[in-house]
């Protein structure tokens, strides 16, 4: 447009020939316009075009020199004016654009700030140095749960929980005194409904030169979400720590409840366990924070809760965690309500183990609180973990108890117990086994055990223990004889039991080893005693038979003697006898009566000796003198045909004896020798010392005793009656009495004899103690 204007003005001027001075203002107006509203290139182009146009007009009017100079002047003015105007306009425009941009920038920062504040849960506000609220934003109102109109009448301290009030007060003081310019902390703030929330609180002093105390900018962030997450995480970690380190539920329960309360900030935790019949729950463990005024000994201890009733009953029945934000407005357990007076919020979650709800844990707090869904689900998880733990702990405890029982049995048993591998190798032996066999485990394993097993197998009548490992049990224990490490011999009773592996296949064995030595020896002794008793019975029976036999023999002897006495006396009584006959019969009667008399005397003697009623009176006896005395009397008898000979040792010491009895012995033996030497012969009496004894012998050259009779000659009523000996009279008790007397002296008697060669009877009598050495007294 400026160029069209310039061209139009030039054309009119050329056509009319109007003077340049007249056209110049038009050009100037055009350039000024361009300079005002267009950019620099437009201004230069327009200015140049205008200057060219002015020069064209001036040249056309050549001749007039003044016209050209005027034109140059006009061009210069035009240039200066256009340039200046354009520069001024440009500066003005730039300033205007700058201020406009600044305004825009300011507007966007404000918006962003607003949006940030809206998006973040940050509350901002101003308080005076004493804490009075001066100004709050919406967020802060929301955080505090109070409107700004309410807050302006309150102080920062009023909304701070009591526990943190002092710290905040101190901070205000320090900031007010400008000791610090900024203070940050996490505090609890109380909301009008009584609930508390964790707040990250920051305060900064704002410079106010006009006042003595600074204003404080308060920044608050609700960190309850983070806090809750942290608390829940800590609670889970805490529960797991307790579970890991505890060995039983009883031990873990209070710690665990305490940990839950501490981490999740509850005041009281209670564990309600299902009773054995699973029909009700009863309180088993509880934990409470210090300062919680609850009577723990009230009747609620025995409170039993039924399924479905109240908070706990519901949690038990449904197996789902349940929360009550405000107990006052809900159907909390009636019976428990008194107990939990002063408590406002509760959450209960089931403890689930093995698919069953085995109990309910309940957390209670003094203030109303809203239990978030994530807390409830976290508690459900914890409930499952605790349930598993309870089950695990119960199983482990049962196992430990069982294991402990078995260990105790194994260690303490008085019976030896050996654990034996399939190869018969000793895996383990209990203390009793090692003690019993006097081995340490090494020598036991390497030496004693293999020997023991061999003996065991042998006694069981098999090659190896193998049948036992095939599950074929020994019917009973097997007794074997075994030597201990110390060389003692024991009777051991071994009883093996196969122990199956998981699949039921016999895998190893337990061998019980009992020391039955005492029992066995007692049995043996008992058997011996029984034998002895049987023997005693036999002896008694024999004695009885002997007595009967004795009676029979005695009566026979008496009756035989009486036959003559009675018969001949009857003949004499009846009369009609010759005098010679009467005399002869009287002789028979006398002899038999005498015989009966001797029989009675011998029998009484024997009875007294055997029953111990006859004692001998020991005195110093010169046995040689006894021999000589007896010999003298015997040889004086007119009817004796035998010849006597003495062979007495003159050095024979005095013996200790009863002289009368010794005379009886020697007399008896001498009479026997004479009786059984019907054809005469020699009877020799001899003595000599033999050790501590006097050896006395009476030897004859008579009939002698048949070999089969020799051992019986000292038995009562045993008389040699064969051959020539049959008519020799005697009671049959003489040698029995002799033997008794010798034995009462502590001596022995025996006989050597052969039929046709005679007999030699020998007996010994102990020497008197002080004369054990020969002849001291006699030669003194």
């Amino acid at each position: 447009m400026p160029f069209a204007g310039l061209a139009a003005v030039l054309a009119v001027a050329l056509a009319t020939g109007a003077p340049g001075l007249l056209v110049f203002p038009l050009f100037l107006i055009l350039v000024l316009y361009v300079a005002l509203f267009d950019d620099r290139s437009q201004v230069v182009a327009t200015g140049s075009a205008a200057a060219l146009a002015i020069l064209v007009l001036a040249i056309r009017q050549l001749g007039q020199t003044s016209n050209l100079a005027t034109a140059v002047f006009e061009v210069a003015v035009l240039g200066i004016v256009a340039g200046s105007v354009h520069e001024v306009v440009r500066h003005w425009r730039e300033a205007e654009a700058k201020s406009e941009k600044k305004a825009e920038d300011l507007e966007s920062v404000d918006e962003r700030l607003r949006m940030t504040l809206e998006a973040a849960t940050i509350g901002l506000g101003m308080v005076a140095a004493d804490g009075r609220w001066l100004q709050v934003n919406d967020k802060l109102e929301a955080i505090l749960g109070r409107g700004s109109d309410e807050l302006v009448h309150m102080s920062l301290l009023d909304v701070t929980a009591e526990a943190d009030r002092r710290a905040v007060d101190d901070a205000l003081g320090q900031l007010g005194r400008r000791e610090i310019v900024r203070w940050e902390s996490e505090v609890q703030q109380a909301r009008p409904d009584g609930s508390r929330s964790p707040i990250a609180l920051a305060m900064a002093a704002i410079s106010d030169h006009g006042a003595d105390e600074p204003l404080l900018l308060v920044q608050e962030t609700d960190i309850s979400a983070r806090k809750r997450l942290d608390a829940m995480r800590d609670a889970v970690v805490g529960v797991r720590q307790v579970i890991v380190s505890a060995s039983s539920w009883e031990q873990a329960a209070p710690v665990l409840l305490g940990s839950l309360c501490t981490h999740l900030d509850w005041d009281l935790a209670q564990y309600w366990g299902a009773d054995d019949d699973r029909r009700s729950l009863s309180l088993q463990t509880s934990w409470h924070k210090d300062g919680l005024n609850i009577d723990l000994d009230d009747p609620v201890r025995n409170l039993s809760i039924q399924a479905g009733g109240g908070l706990i009953g519901r949690a038990w029945q449904s197996g789902v965690a349940n929360a009550i934000d405000d107990l006052a407005a809900n159907d909390y357990e009636q019976a428990g309500a008194e107990r939990v007076a002063g408590l406002r919020a509760a959450v209960a979650f089931p403890v689930i183990g093995g698919g069953l709800t085995i109990g309910v844990i309940e957390l209670l707090a003094r203030e109303v609180r809203h239990s978030e869904a994530d807390l409830v689900s976290m508690l459900s998880t914890i409930g499952a973990e605790i349930g598993q733990f309870i089950q695990r702990a119960a199983t482990a405890q049962a196992l430990r108890r069982s294991e402990a029982d078995h260990r105790a049995i194994y260690e303490r048993s008085p019976i030896g117990i050996a654990r034996v591998s399939g190869d018969g190798e000793l895996l383990e032996g209990n203390p009793a086994l090692l003690l019993m066999l006097e081995h340490d485990i090494e020598t036991m394993r390497s030496q004693a055990w293999p020997d023991l097993l061999r003996a065991y197998d042998q006694a069981a009548g098999r090659a190896r223990l193998a049948p036992l490992l095939a599950g074929i049990a020994d019917q009973r224990g097997i007794q074997i004889r075994a030597a201990t490490g110390g060389g003692r011999w024991l009777w051991l009773q071994l009883t093996a039991t196969s122990i199956p592996d998981m699949s039921g296949r016999p895998e190893h064995m337990l061998v019980m080893v009992e020391d039955v030595t005492t029992v066995r020896e007692a049995q043996d002794r008992l058997a011996e005693a029984l034998d002895a008793q049987r023997g005693a019975f036999a002896t008694l029976e024999k004695l009885d038979r002997t007595k009967t036999e004795f009676l029979s023999i005695v009566s026979h002897e008496f009756r035989t003697a009486l036959t003559g006495i009675q018969g001949f006396s009857e003949l004499i009584r009846d009369g009609g006898l010759e005098t010679d006959e009467v005399r002869a019969y009287g002789g028979y009667i006398f002899n038999d009566a005498d015989r009966v008399n001797r029989l009675i005397g011998d029998m009484l003697d024997l009875d007294r000796m055997e029953s111990g009623r006859m004692s001998i009176r020991l005195a110093d006896v010169d046995i040689n003198e006894v021999m000589s005395d007896v010999m003298a009397r015997a040889s004086s008898s007119s009817s004796i045909v035998a010849e006597f000979k003495a062979d007495l040792d003159p050095r024979l010491p005095i013996v200790a004896g009863d002289r009368d009895r010794l005379v009886q012995v020697v007399t008896n033996l001498v009479n026997n020798s004479v009786k059984y030497s019907p054809d005469g012969g020699t009877v020799t009496l001899s003595t000599r010392a033999d050790g501590g004894f006097a050896l006395v012998s009476v030897t004859d050259t008579g009939l002698g005793i048949p070999a089969d009779e020799i051992e019986h000659v000292f038995e009562r009523f045993r008389r040699v009656r064969s051959g020539a000996a049959q008519s020799i009279p005697g009671t049959g008790l003489g040698l029995t009495i002799v033997k008794q007397i010798v034995e009462m002296h502590g001596g022995k008697i025996w006989v050597e004899s052969a039929v046709g060669h005679g007999s030699a009877f020998h007996f010994t009598v102990p020497l008197a103690a002080e004369h054990a050495t020969p002849l001291q007294r006699r030669h003194a």
Partner: protein, 132 residues
């Protein structure tokens, strides 16, 4: 042996077997006085020998005798001469002795000591002829 059997009542032969001389003398004296012919044996073996050789009408047999006792002698005699009468005259007089002797085959038992009349009576009874 018809000869001794043919002898009259008074001349029956009695064998006294006893090892006791007193008993031998007593029996001989009493039986001879009663009209019997008396033979004496000192032991069992002699009794068997004499009995079988002499065929006495009756044997008065003691039991306790050397070499062979009266019961064994009686068994041997009875085996050879079943009809021969044997009276056991024994001083064995325990409760069951009498039954024992009868069971062993004795025709009668006479316990010692005996009344002389009993001796004569038992001998008379056993030597009486069936026809008499």
């Amino acid at each position: 042996m018809p000869e001794p059997a043919a002898v009259g009542y008074g001349s029956s032969v009695v064998l006294v077997a006893d090892d006791n001389e007193v008993a031998q003398r007593l029996c001989r004296r009493v039986l001879e006085k009663a009209g019997y012919q008396v033979l004496i044996a000192g032991d069992g073996q002699q009794a068997v020998d004499i009995a079988l050789a002499q065929n006495p009408n009756l044997i008065l047999m003691d039991v306790a005798m050397p070499t062979m006792d009266g019961l064994e002698a009686m068994r041997q005699i009875k085996a050879a001469r079943p009809e021969m009468r044997v009276v056991i005259a024994s001083a064995h007089s325990m409760a069951n002795d009498r039954e024992r002797f009868l069971a062993a085959g004795a025709d009668d038992v006479l316990s010692k000591p005996f009344r002389l009349g009993d001796l004569v009576a038992v001998v008379a009874r056993l030597t009486a002829k069936p026809s008499a």
